[in-house]
Symmetry: C2
Subunit: 327 residues, 2 copies
């Protein structure tokens, strides 16, 4: 059993609209225990908070430790967060949470200091510290999943801007006449390139008579469709799915170029469930489109990489945050 010094252990939590992931990390930022539960946001805030609590206890137990040995907890939430107070200001994907005092509630229930940040910020922090060894000074994280989240490292530090809302790259309009977005606008980055957008385009195509192996695999309603199914279909020669994914990759490439033109980063990191499942299928097109749309001089020695942390970027970043704050 590892030495039970309180300073050594922190918990990182990734609070998503669908699932909650928690990880217990040791002093070398190794993850030595994880747990996962579904979020059940529709049951209300109190249920979600008690599910977070259970998930934390499970991850700690998984590593044969107790909460008393945990020095701090970091948590990434999907929405605007006031870091100072640990309040979730607004989270549309958590059944519309508004002004939820997440830090206060979790500290009361767990008896450990809790630090709350936006999930995109947390994920780019995790990648920057654990994967890039905190070397590049300016990093943009683009996380393609149900929606598209982002996070910015500027001058070596997490940057969250005046209202703690910087990095809402998913609602950058790139196709002003494009499909409607959940936010009310049209043609937002996430309305054309997220998993939601990809699935919708596939379902519309089927209605219009496109043939796809996905209906053989999952039935006409495409029940339980996942990003991994798209990869399988493409590898079995599904031309329609390949075309939809190619188009999404082009949109992601344009989003990357926009952000390079605006921010001049050293590294662009792509992550999230869609990238994890379809990196091999999408990366070449993303790189080519980004290069075509970035201004001369902006791309020199800039790296565009797919994160190796996959789904663990969020819990890793949350652990980094907790470790930093308890010091």
């Amino acid at each position: 059993m590892p030495e039970a010094s309180k300073e050594n252990y922190v918990v990182g939590i990734d609070l998503g609209g669908t699932k909650i992931l928690a990880g217990l990390f040791d002093g070398s930022l190794e993850c030595i225990g994880t747990a996962k539960v579904s979020t059940k946001a529709q049951r209300g805030m109190e249920t979600v908070i008690s599910r977070i609590e259970r998930c934390v206890r499970d991850a700690v137990d998984e590593a044969d430790l107790g909460l008393k040995q945990v020095a701090g907890i970091g948590i990434g939430a999907p929405g605007a967060v006031d870091f100072e107070t640990g309040t979730v200001i607004f989270a549309p994907n958590l059944d519309g949470w508004k002004e939820v005092p997440l830090k206060k509630e979790l500290e009361r229930q767990l008896g450990v200091p809790v630090f709350v940040e936006n999930d995109g910020n947390i994920a780019v922090l995790g990648v920057h510290v654990a994967e890039l060894k905190a070397k590049p000074r300016h990093v943009i994280g683009i996380f393609v999943g149900t929606g598209i989240g982002g996070g910015l490292i500027i001058n070596g530090e997490l940057y969250s801007g005046f209202n703690h809302t910087a990095g809402e790259i998913g609602h950058m309009v790139i196709d002003v006449n494009g499909p409607k977005c959940g936010c009310g606008s049209r043609g937002c980055f996430e309305a054309v390139a997220s998993r939601t957008a990809i699935f919708q385009r596939i379902k519309e195509g089927i209605k219009e008579g496109e043939k796809t192996l996905l209906t053989d695999m999952l039935g006409d309603g495409l029940e339980d469709l996942r990003s991994g199914d798209l990869r399988k279909a493409i590898r079995r020669g599904d031309k329609f799915v390949a075309k939809v994914i190619e188009q999404a990759a082009e949109y992601i490439g344009i989003g990357v170029a926009n952000l390079i033109n605006i921010l001049g980063p050293e590294v662009v990191v792509l992550g999230g469930g869609v990238m994890e499942a379809l990196a091999d299928e999408m990366t070449a097109t993303i790189l080519k489109t980004a290069k075509d749309h970035a201004m001369p001089g902006t791309m020199k020695n800039v790296e565009i990489v797919v994160s190796k942390l996959g789904d663990n970027a969020g819990i890793t970043g949350a652990a980094v945050l907790a470790r930093r704050e308890i010091k």
Copy 2:
């Protein structure tokens, strides 16, 4: 005659694709002499540099001073700039300048230290220091003229990114199927909302049979059309021009919202020739569209203002830069 202490005086230069503007500034950052010449970029780099030299000498002479009393010169150039070496890496609007050692050449000819920056960066620096008194920590400058330039103040400092190219907001794609841009992409911010884009839409409209007072004012070819003519036409009741300007203002509002979503600034400053001429006609639509497209929480207490410096933002920022660097 003012006291001739060398530390007191600096020159700020705005090097544009069409004209060169120089201003002599005293110790309180008051502009006490200006000069303007056309750029004549097509005649080649050496001609442009000697015209800059002449423009500087004229501005100094205008203030009854001599070059010996000037402690430093700042210059904003329209393109990617390496600040350390003072080289213009690439400037499409200067007849395609590449790797021009502007600092070195001007220092040789003028015998005064010269500091070179990108023109969008310089302009936002001028607005930040001279107009906003350096108070807001995070500022985005959007300068709408022949093209659309930008500049970023982050954490109170000018931010130029890894390759010194940050702030190329004019080439953020916002209408992926929109009109072709000079950069090769489609639907860039400046391809839909710059003066060039506005003029093109007006000329296309006339070809398609739209009626406008502009042809009465300037002839069918719209020779010497300027932003001010659009204002005059609108005020005389020109519905077609009003509609084109309304549409450009909507695009600018979308650009503003994109940048607020991505960067979370405290202040967004609008400037450049188009804003100077048409602020009264465009501002309400820009604000409304920005508000409609920004995410909840991002706009709280954020100011969107039109710069009062007008065409002088560039020379003012260049003077600020020179003063800062000679200290």
